[in-house]
Symmetry: C2
Subunit: 140 residues, 2 copies
DNA sequence: ATAGTAAATAGTAATATTACTATTTAGGAG
DNA sequence: CTCCTAAATAGTAATATTACTATTTACTAT
């Protein structure tokens, strides 16, 4: 976690207690907390933290590549995931919203370099497979 | 578009005027309409169509793999894209929300087959590269 | 340590998305 | 063509997310 704080500092962002609390909550509520769950967890230590602050900090962390936002289509809200070491992607059930990690990543650095040559600076990527899990398959 | 209607029929879904209108709007408002834009377009022909109907049909089309939902992290709402022939993915600017298509797709059928062996039926996948476009790069 | 400054925050308002219910309707059977 | 039934819809309520503004606070330089 000190890595994240150092990165924030280096980029010129302030280390507020609220910001630290959001990062802590992301780790404590793993895996896949919603913004609301993060907010609830943060409020244990700091009851006055607003929802806006949680969302604002999540957005910042996403922009820095520290957090992944995993979208569950057709369900309310997204879930979040802190980028803790091992890079991976997800299978997401379109029926029940269940997400699970897969270690597979086919993206090659060469292609990222190509995007950069086109004037686009890549900070992260996400790959999601959508479908139906074992439990939901009969219904789908 | 007849392909989409035929698929819906084959799966047992009804071909309502509202549903046809949503599909038409997806094509007419290309690229990357929001749900609100689709709703506005649909209301031209059918003023009483509710927002709920638009969202419900988008969800259905997503579940069938006919539509992609492209999430723009930290911005309000998602944008949608009808799956019209050529499979592709996206570069998304975290600052201004601009999305552009890239023809690259590294996902190999073999890996999809592996997920299926684990009991997960894959209907689609999405790959997004997040970063900063040429215009926003100085600020990022 | 103190003051200055821009960033961050709390609280609230606005918007986007999803859930719910009574009613309507598409498509199939007779 | 008419009836039947489950699916789909409109309208509304509930929830999730983002935007805005006055105030507070972390950090820098003195």
């Amino acid at each position: 976690m000190n890595d994240f704080l150092r990165l924030l500092r280096n980029k010129g962002f302030k280390l507020t207690p609220q910001r630290r609390a959001v990062i802590e909550a992301l780790q404590a509520c793993s895996p896949f907390p919603t913004a609301q769950e993060i907010h609830r967890h943060v409020k244990n230590r700091a009851p006055d933290v607003s929802l806006d602050t949680v969302y604002r900090n999540l957005t910042l962390l996403i922009r820095l590549g520290i957090v992944n936002q995993v979208n569950l289509p057709g369900r309310s809200g997204s879930v979040f995931e802190i980028v803790d070491g091992n890079h991976h992607h997800h299978l997401i059930c379109l029926s029940c919203g269940h997400a699970e990690c897969i270690d597979y990543c086919p993206v090659i650095p060469q292609k990222i370099a190509q995007a950069e040559e086109r004037g686009f600076t890549v900070v992260s990527h996400s790959l999601e497979f959508y479908g139906y899990c074992r439990a939901c398959r009969p219904a789908g």
